[in-house]
């Protein structure tokens, strides 16, 4: 068998070929110098492959795990035909048609030249961040684009395109959610996702209409005839700042004091005293005092103004006598009274329920008027009825008879049921009238009614008995809120010096000094910090709506108040 191996070398001038004819059946291919086909390149194994004649044909076989590629495919062995190419390291072995006298022919050529180490190393090296393809410019524009789309374009689009924001309100995150600058107050949270409930116009501050749709009935701060631009022209949101949680209600004292420190600057006719701080600068209390109970005339009198501090309630009531240590005589003997026997708190715990004679006084102060008829009592609260009760009682006694009284004539003292003659009847009724009149002098004019009431006897101008209408002040401080319930751990006498009061004309309202025992200014560190709003409200319940001209939109009719 003749095998021709042609080593081909390409140069600039042309192709050189060196033939080597071999006769062996097995030709070893390798880097080893004793190989039949010697391939001098470090990338070829010492013993790389073998070319073997197996009778019918030639085969290429790899030695061990050496890498050969038959027509591009890695193989461990392959049969060879003309035109086949076998890659061995950087060499290509190509099977060519054998010339005459040769059984099998191959060409061998170094086709993959040795790499340039420097080029190879440089091509693998990436030594600066810029070379990695990371681009500051692309990152910068990309990030800016994403930010602008998500946080500017989409929110504006949702607002500008009609219905778009509404359509997205059910989504977990709305287009304008990212604009929310802070948690809204608890009361407003039910519509907090709908930014446009309040923010109705772009670049325009929230307008009062948005608030008044629900809060139309909110009351004013000063009567309508007081014109103060700070009150009539400021928006609701000037004071009520949303997105600050519960801080939507201003409690800071400066908010009030800014005006009230010198109120004359805003309303020259005001009679309201200036105030700056509860501890340092707050006027003495001016409780409402009844000046004329009959005419319902009241006056605010400062506690310091002792001469005018007189409650003209048309009642007489010595607190001291009722609160004596040993108790008062009652129907069941001595009974020790305390404040709570008469003064019951109302259900809200703010004030006290009105004193009722029938409920609080009548157990002891029974309206019996004749010892001979202890079961008969005068009606309370109606002078005319009381007068006729007395008159009727003695008339009926006279006509009935049996009224054993020294002053009574025989006709009245007669046996009960014995008929009267006409003259006797006249005499008896005359006695009854005189007796009633005399009794009224006592009952109304001296003892029973007059114990507690101011009573006018009949006169030329007014021929009938008059018990003057009583009235006690129900609210001492109409513009301040004092919650009794919050002070129930304190003994009543701690503030109201009732044990020393002998007159109903006394005003038992404690002085501001008493409050200051516990309450300090807004920022007091040791006492109860007490800003204005602890006792006062801005929107006064005794006034009409803050914005009387506001009309609800039909959509919102029936919402809020």
């Amino acid at each position: 068998m003749r095998v021709r191996v042609s080593y081909i070398t390409r140069r600039a001038k042309g192709v050189a070929s060196k033939d080597d004819d071999r006769g062996e059946d097995v030709l070893r291919i390798g880097r080893a110098t004793d190989s039949e086909i010697y391939l001098a390149d470090s990338r070829v194994n010492l013993e790389h492959a073998s070319l073997t004649n197996r009778g019918g044909g030639f085969f290429i076989e790899a030695v061990g795990a050496a890498n050969i590629r038959h027509n591009g495919t890695p193989r461990s062995s392959a049969s060879l035909a003309v035109g086949d190419t076998v890659a061995i390291g950087p060499f290509d072995l190509v099977v060519v048609a054998p010339p005459a006298g040769i059984d099998f022919a191959v060409t061998i050529e170094l086709v993959r030249a040795q790499v340039d180490e420097l080029e190879a190393l440089r091509s693998r090296a990436t030594t600066t961040i810029a070379e990695t393809g990371l681009s500051k410019r692309r990152l910068a524009w990309g990030l800016s684009f994403v930010v602008l789309v998500l946080f500017l374009i989409l929110p504006v689009l949702g607002f500008v395109v009609p219905g778009l924001n509404e359509a997205t309100r059910t989504w977990p995150v709305g287009f304008d959610t990212s604009w929310d600058s802070g948690t809204v107050s608890d009361s407003h949270r039910f519509f907090a996702r709908d930014c446009n409930a309040c923010h109705q116009k772009a670049f325009v501050q929230v307008r009062d209409g948005a608030c008044l749709e629900c809060h139309a009935a909110i009351t004013g701060h000063a009567p309508y005839d007081v014109k103060v631009s700070e009150l009539s022209e400021e928006r609701c949101a000037h004071c009520h700042k949303e997105h600050n949680r519960e801080a939507i209600i201003i409690t800071a004292q400066t908010f009030c004091a800014d005006c009230h420190v010198d109120l004359k600057k805003f309303n020259s006719k005001t009679t309201i005293a200036n105030v700056a701080d509860f501890a340092r600068d707050h006027p003495e209390f001016r409780p409402t005092v009844v000046k004329d109970a009959q005419a319902k005339k009241f006056e605010r009198v400062a506690l310091t103004d002792k001469t005018n501090l007189v409650e003209q309630s048309n009642l007489k009531f010595p607190h001291d006598k009722h609160l004596v240590e040993r108790g008062v005589r009652g129907p069941d003997g001595l009974q020790k009274l305390d404040c709570g026997n008469c003064h019951e708190p109302d259900r809200g715990g703010i004030g006290m329920l009105p004193i009722q004679m029938t409920k609080h006084c009548a157990d002891c102060h029974q309206l019996t008027f004749d010892p001979k008829a202890p079961e008969r009592k005068l009606p309370h609260g109606d002078t005319a009825a009381a007068v006729s009760t007395i008159q009727d009682f003695y008339a009926s006694q006279a006509l009935r008879g049996g009224y054993l009284d020294d002053s009574a004539p025989a006709s009245v003292r007669r046996r009960v049921g014995q008929p009267l003659r006409e003259e006797e009847k006249k005499e008896a009724l005359a006695w009854a009238e005189a007796k009633a009149k005399q009794q009224m002098e006592v009952i109304l004019g001296t003892t029973l009614c007059k114990t507690c009431h101011v009573v006018d006897p009949p006169s030329a101008q007014n021929p009938s008995w008059q018990v003057k209408t009583p009235h006690v002040a129900t609210v001492w401080m109409p513009k301040g809120i004092f919650v009794h319930a919050k002070h129930q751990t304190i003994d009543c006498a701690g503030c109201h010096d009732a044990r020393k009061s002998s007159q109903a004309t006394d005003v038992l309202m404690p002085s501001i000094a008493t409050c200051r025992d516990c309450h300090g200014g807004e920022d007091d560190a040791r006492l109860v910090p007490s800003p204005c709003v602890m006792c006062h409200v801005f929107h006064r319940p005794d006034l009409g709506p803050m914005r009387p001209d506001f009309k609800k939109t039909p959509k919102m009719a029936g919402v809020g108040n």
């Binding site: 180490e117 910068a140 930010v147 700042k241």
Partner: protein, 275 residues
Amino acid sequence: MHESVLVYRRFRYLKWAVTLTVVALLAYIFHSPSEPANGGTWLGYTLGTIGVGLIVWLAWFGIRKRSYANPESKLEDWLSAHIYLGLSLIFVATLHSGFQFGWNVHTLAYVLMMLVIVSGAFGLYAYVRYPKLMTENRRGVSLDAMIVEMAEIDRETRELAAKLTDEIRDLVFDAIENTRIGGSVRRQLESGRSGRTVAAIARIREIIPLPSREQTEDGRRLISLLTRKNELVLRARNDVMYKAMMDIWLYVHVPLTFALLASLIAHIIAVFFYW
């Protein structure tokens, strides 16, 4: 040069920044608005305006530093002011926020600003620390010269390895062909020797001595060459790492500055759009 930026004109800009910070802090402490402190009080608006003015001015530095021909002001002047006033922004912006944070565009702008400041602070650190390390590491040899030497060693080791066993040749060739200086951003930020070269050295040590004296000599030479190569790999990689450290923060600082400016636009428009 780097320290001189910090002490520039006897800390002139440090004094400015401290003054701004102290004034902002005092104003915040003594300001008692009727609502909780937030960006919408008069002080909030004031600090916000100062903040946005500072941010735009600081960002302008990126443009200013490119115009080398400007004789009006020195670049050190700008850089010194950029560093100190940039740091004072931490206080101005935090006080502007009134410590109100949430999942919204307003806090996004704040977070981006803080990231820009932190990346800038790292940049300052990198410029103070790495040039010195870089000089020490290079020992007067440039990165390119190291690579040229490595290539030379590669060529020699290939020749030597080819004379030894196929296994050794494969290991050495593999190590040569897989040694990479730098690479991806992550690889540039790491350093270290070539693992495959270390493995090749270890393997040659194992099989030495080889059957012939000549081969053993070649093996020993191979070991010393590969060891030298690996030292070069380490130094080259360190060099790349130091350079990458000095560069990488800008890839955060600059893009986030742009994102910050975008979020500031959104923040300001949002505030007045839903006033």
